[in-house]
């Protein structure tokens, strides 16, 4: 599937949760499949920290340019683009195409840098809603995301309950734990205390706070993997380019700063690569959006109350070895939805890969999502016409809000 990125400009200011506003911004996006005549088959994909609007397919003439969720989305895949019109969108503040800290602030004529306004999950959802307006999509067949993307999918059902038929929330949480905030904070400190950060205005100095970005990414990678998979993948194996004699003897080279174990070279490589393409201000923005997300905050911590406005049907998926967004956190969302008598499916996948599992091709995981989207597709068909009338639930044009949805408490 060959795809082309697009950009949608927005002139009108978007009011942000912080009280600030942003104007003259653009959102990068891609679409896969065809919007049907009823405009009812759209699926919005929300991305997490290190991802973008390039969700599926590949760019013409570019090897290895597959989208980040290409195993999940495409023709004949679990989210089948022969059936659904899938929209991938890059969030505000990103460094992959949408307006972000590297762009020029129209109010000052200078690059935003650290002056880019703080954006939240709710702000992103509002910006995505405007994009859908521009694309002529009133109601989503589904909104879907993993991790931070799952937070956006959940927030969609609260901010625009009438516009979402199904929400697919994968490896996510109703808010971050103190431990997760702590990891984010260490990563941010590594970035902002890098002398090349220059208070976030490093672009003007022609430098990049690479050291901080490397550390941030290394921390991230540790938390994305499970202890078990890390042991299996790297264990205590000595580095590959070690002198062959030493390696055979299983001996150490007794070095303090050089790479000794394979896990070290893996992390350094990941850190180096990341620091080449990721923007430091974007890292701060996105991790802060993670920290801030907490729909229950305005309800004295009562998540059931917070989720009462949701009208969508839900699929939640978690992974047993994910210690960053553990199954326990997904179960909190499931319970709060059930307290509101919502229609919820939940799958806890026994996968060894930790948080990363949501991006990997696990057969059971794929089967769960495929089955769920089959159901979404069938509901679309039964809503579409009289040929399926016998199976259609009462309510006609709004079948998704009928039957299994209880009244908000």
């Amino acid at each position: 599937m060959i795809v082309t990125p697009q950009s949608m400009p927005f002139r009108e200011p978007l009011a942000l949760q912080s009280g600030a506003a942003i104007r003259d911004y653009a959102l990068a996006y891609e679409t896969y499949g065809t919007l049907n005549a009823q405009r009812s088959n759209a699926v919005l994909i929300c991305h997490a920290l290190n991802a973008s609007h390039h969700v599926a397919g590949a760019y013409a003439g570019q090897e290895r340019s597959q989208g980040w969720w290409d195993t999940m989305i495409g023709p004949g895949k679990p989210v089948d683009t022969d059936r659904f019109f899938v929209v991938g969108v890059n969030n505000l503040g990103s460094c992959f195409g949408s307006t972000g800290p590297m762009h020029v602030n129209p109010d000052t004529g200078r690059v935003y840098g650290a002056d880019f306004p703080v954006v939240t999950v709710e702000d992103w959802v509002n910006a995505q809603a405007r994009l859908l307006d521009a694309l002529g999509i009133e109601r989503l067949a589904a909104v879907m995301g993993g991790s931070l993307g799952g937070m956006q999918a959940l927030s969609w059902t609260l901010q625009y309950p009438q516009r979402v038929a199904h929400a697919v929330v994968i490896a996510s949480a109703p808010n971050l734990t103190a431990e997760n905030i702590a990891f984010n904070e260490v990563a941010r400190r590594a970035i902002v205390t890098d002398p090349d950060f220059h208070g976030g205005h490093f672009y003007e100095h022609g430098v990049i706070p690479r050291r901080g970005l490397r550390i941030a990414r290394m921390i991230g990678h540790i938390t994305y993997l499970s202890d078990d998979v890390m042991n299996e993948k790297f264990g205590r194996q000595l580095r590959e380019r070690m002198d062959a004699v030493q390696r055979t003897a299983g001996a150490y080279s007794y070095t303090l700063q050089d790479v000794e174990f394979q896990i070290e070279s893996y992390l350094r490589y990941q850190g180096d690569k990341f620091s080449e393409y990721f923007d430091a201000n974007t890292y701060l923005l996105i991790t802060r959006a993670l920290d801030y997300f907490d729909p229950a905050l305005a309800h004295d911590g009562n998540l059931a109350k917070a989720l009462a406005p949701a009208l969508a049907k839900f699929l939640l998926v978690s992974f047993t070895t994910d210690w960053r967004f553990s199954p326990k956190r997904s179960r909190e969302i499931v319970k709060a939805l059930l307290d509101n008598r919502r229609d919820v499916s939940y799958a806890e996948i026994d996968a060894p890969h930790g948080h990363d599992a949501f991006l990997l091709e696990d057969a059971r995981y794929m089967a769960v999502v495929r089955a769920y989207f089959d159901r979404v597709g069938k509901e679309l068909m039964s809503a579409a016409g009289p040929s399926q009338g016998a199976k259609a639930p009462p309510g006609g044009s709004e079948p998704h809000a009928v039957g299994s949805v209880g009244a908000p408490s």
Copy 2:
């Protein structure tokens, strides 16, 4: 209990595992209690990353100068200094008194800095054995340590099996997992990529790589605590000095770089404090010693074979919420010792505090250690004289190696 640190100089070179040697070094140490006439009641305490020879008691005229394990060791405490002669020793390479990177290299007349030789757990144990020689202690009633200190206690039983009656190994592991090495590596990278590190020769530049040390300590703190205790202690509470109106409203201030959550100010405070007193080169040395420790390496990973030389009796303790040195890792040691038919006691303490629990005053934990040292004391008494003859096991002067100790396989 008022105590005084002492220093023992060593002229003779100490051969190190790396092949290098160190000469003209000194070890800082403290002793508590009285060595008995038979010189049989000595207990050696080995320290972990951020600790020293100052294990118990306090310094005259210094408020809040209690040793790092003062809850455990002292008159009437679980390791009772009315009964045992306890020795605390600072390891080579430390920054708390023993010869380390901040001292002058006698070979060059310059401060060691990054040229301080790599030291291992085995090297530390050899250095500690020399200190005991100098103190006239041939055989230890017990060697004891937590975390990295537990690795030293375990190594004592392998390097000097005849010199150790009991080994108390707390919250430790037979080696680090890939995840633990990974956390160490990120901390090290933060230090060595700090521009103030100057390749480890920062002393000459009159600077300290504080940024790197802060990040290292923040990472450490996250891994010492359990997710649960962090949530309980800090949760998602907003910072204390926040504007009272905002705090009442439970609202955010939408800041990217300032402290927003209490966990952030806690970590920053810990990082700042640490960077004021801890040496960067010492941090590299000690974390590398942790990485390298792996007695099974020379036995194709067979821990039972590796532990076969041990003659001591063992107490192992682990804590349920310790994800850095999990109970599973202690159980590996227990199993390997049982495979060798060694005398092993094992307690898995249900404590919420994560790895930090080994330093805290948990009643069950204290009771387990107290009961074990009661036994160590009784064995000493029964070995000491005919008045306890009826209870003494056969074997006379070497009672500790008799009965429950099987033959090495």
